[in-house]
Symmetry: C2
Subunit: 208 residues, 2 copies
Amino acid sequence: MIYNMPKKKQIVSDLSTEEKIKEAARKVFTEKGYAAARTRDIAEEAGINLALLNYYFRSKEKLFDEIMLEKMQQLFGVMFPIVSDETLPLENKIDLIVQNYIDMLIKNPNLPLFVLNEIRNPSKTFDKNFPISKMLKNTSLVNQIKEARPDLNPVHFLLNILGMTIFPFIAKPIFGHVGLITEKEFTSLLNERKKLIPVWIKAILKSK
Amino acid sequence: MIYNMPKKKQIVSDLSTEEKIKEAARKVFTEKGYAAARTRDIAEEAGINLALLNYYFRSKEKLFDEIMLEKMQQLFGVMFPIVSDETLPLENKIDLIVQNYIDMLIKNPNLPLFVLNEIRNPSKTFDKNFPISKMLKNTSLVNQIKEARPDLNPVHFLLNILGMTIFPFIAKPIFGHVGLITEKEFTSLLNERKKLIPVWIKAILKSK
DNA sequence: ATAATTATTAATCATTTGATTAAAATACTT
DNA sequence: AAGTATTTTAATCAAATGATTAATAATTAT
């Protein structure tokens, strides 16, 4: 045993203490969720004294709120600029949404499960005027979908795009645990889907 | 104030004590997840003394394991008989899977988020020969999809069916919180999807 | 009816966990 | 260099929480 070895999972880096804690909190919170995450886990992961967590962030909940806001922006931020672009044709919007989401989610695979899971806790305040609500009002995308399919609620198509794109990441634990598919095969499938989902969505939009 | 009133949220019934505890555990675990659920919550919900929980189930984890197994069977049990039916044509399989899932999930809206969320905890043993693995080996459904689209990995289509069907329930908290859609509108959308998703899946299977 | 078994309760334990405190170390200012 | 402010640490607290125990009540068997 060698002394002064970095502890098992520490994030050893030259980041500021505050940023080390946030980085560790991102990891622990998204992996375990708020309730299962212990402040001691975060402190150890960050390689800092537990008291520093409270020194910089006051409480576990305050720290969580910062990370949660960040993660929600990360998750919803992908759609927002594309959805509201008035010049981009519908087909390009679909291409971009799917590709950008899959690229981002490959780098942050447990982001959707984390956010969607924590959101249902009613204690956490949830800003009413968050992207989603705007996304479904009178954005360019929704209007374009309405034009293409006036007979159906446009929410159907949003659910289809997001469902096909995001669901694989939510269902991943099953495939992983079962050992049915390797990490490599999974990524390969996802890359195929970047091209396929837009084709399918367009087929759906035309289907009568 | 009247005495002997049932406490706020108790499940007061003529069930056996053991079944009362299980019923309460189903509710509390699926609502809050394992980590956030306290044994005291479950005891109160069941209207029993805390010690009885341990008397009947030894520990929180043992109780959880029973509920979890049950919930996984509930979630995956919908697909299994349909998927392996050798006589049923592909189109009917799709119809049945989508309809049965939506009907079941309307009654158990937070089932998918609960199961998918708890599954990722590696400590929980996860049976390797669970439905899912069989579902993707050489079942009738997979063979039929291969026949319809030999050019693509059949997993794509499973992800599409399940994504379009299950994702709305996972994403529901967002819509709910934002107040974008009422409970009634949501159910109405879901009922529309029972007919629409099969149409869309068939369009996808034909799309080139 | 009495004994034995099973079910239920109140009280208590032992750990875990979020948070605080007071002292020590480090950095910054003048 | 001395003093001040900031950062970090070890020790500790208080509350929460899963679990147990010993006594009591209810049920079942003899």
